[in-house]
Symmetry: C2
Subunit: 200 residues, 2 copies
């Protein structure tokens, strides 16, 4: 039971090196982008060799996917933390949106999740990852709002996708120097307009 650094179980070894690789990769992917980051760079930063990398991950893309999944889960977690089930659908949507924008302001999340992610992994994989994390929550929230009549009956999938796209774009714009207030205001107007709408 000694937590010695030289004497560790295989399980903790694996855990440690996987984390080291993911963390090092994350930093480089964020700083230089996926394509411009080489595996020698990554393993050097992690204090390992490419042998370790290709033992734990099928290829460079699989490592990138692990980074993206971790990041997506982190964002989803922050959103869930901000939207307890006790909130009304309306409050949940608003708070969730706030939490999303705040979470996406961290480090290089926009680049990982909104730029390189879709291009490297493909939109289908990204949708899958999003769905396993935050997007499902959003869709359910909207469905709930629709059931209560807060929002007109519209194709759920489409509405979810378009709202998510708006939030994504807002996160991108804010990181690029746009004023958060502007985007919050427009997002609010868009959602608010929807709620007082009969257009169908």
């Amino acid at each position: 039971m000694k937590t010695d650094s030289a004497r560790r179980s295989n399980q903790q070894r694996t855990e440690a090196t996987r984390s080291a690789l993911i963390d090092a990769a994350r930093e480089l992917f964020v700083a230089k982008g996926y394509a411009e980051t080489s595996t020698p760079e990554i393993v050097a930063a992690a204090g390992l060799t490419r042998g370790a990398l290709y033992h734990h991950f099928a290829d460079k893309q699989a490592l990138f996917r692990a980074v993206v999944e971790q990041e997506s889960a982190a964002v989803a977690h922050e959103i869930e933390k901000a939207t307890p089930a006790t909130l009304s659908p309306q409050e949940a949507l608003i708070r969730g949106g706030e939490a999303f924008l705040e979470a996406m302001a961290v480090g290089g999340r926009t680049r990982l999740l909104l730029l390189d992610g879709p291009a490297v992994l493909g939109r289908a994989v990204m949708d899958e990852i999003d769905n396993a994390n935050g997007a499902r929550t959003l869709r359910e929230g909207i469905a709930e709002a629709m059931r209560v009549g807060m929002v007109p009956a519209l194709p759920l999938e489409a509405l979810t996708a378009l709202l998510a796209a708006g939030f994504d774009r807002a996160a991108l714009a804010v990181e690029a120097g746009g004023k958060v207030e502007d985007y919050r205001q427009v997002l609010g107007a868009l959602i608010g307009g929807l709620m007082s709408d009969r257009t169908g």
Copy 2:
């Protein structure tokens, strides 16, 4: 003044090979993505050598940018064609949106303009390209609608970006198999809701 194939001026030579490279590159970039397409493949498809490519373009990325710019201009052109100045702001927005979705349904435009483009060239460059083409038109249309009071006073830049993001996402979703009608309906509801809104 002979348009002989063997006897041609430098200008038409340049024009011809640039087009051949861009066309061949477009097809491969669409089919396999930017990263998975090699320059030997491109020049082989164009019936040239890499010498020609690197003579006309600084690097692979510059060739990709040329492809993206051509595609963006094509989309913008189709939108302009569908929105003559005689239309009311409201009609122009609706028709423009329709035209956009239709134009984006062509070949691999979503991949070029919405997936690989932002990742390879960066969001800033893509914004620049969009602005030089279609986005400016959209912003002016919205500004006009705002001036007439059709749409509440909101930060113009933000509103433009979020609406554009919605249309982008709709184009993506439609290509992925989503029903056009669904997205048109939601898009309409979003815009319609905005017009009958006091949220500000």
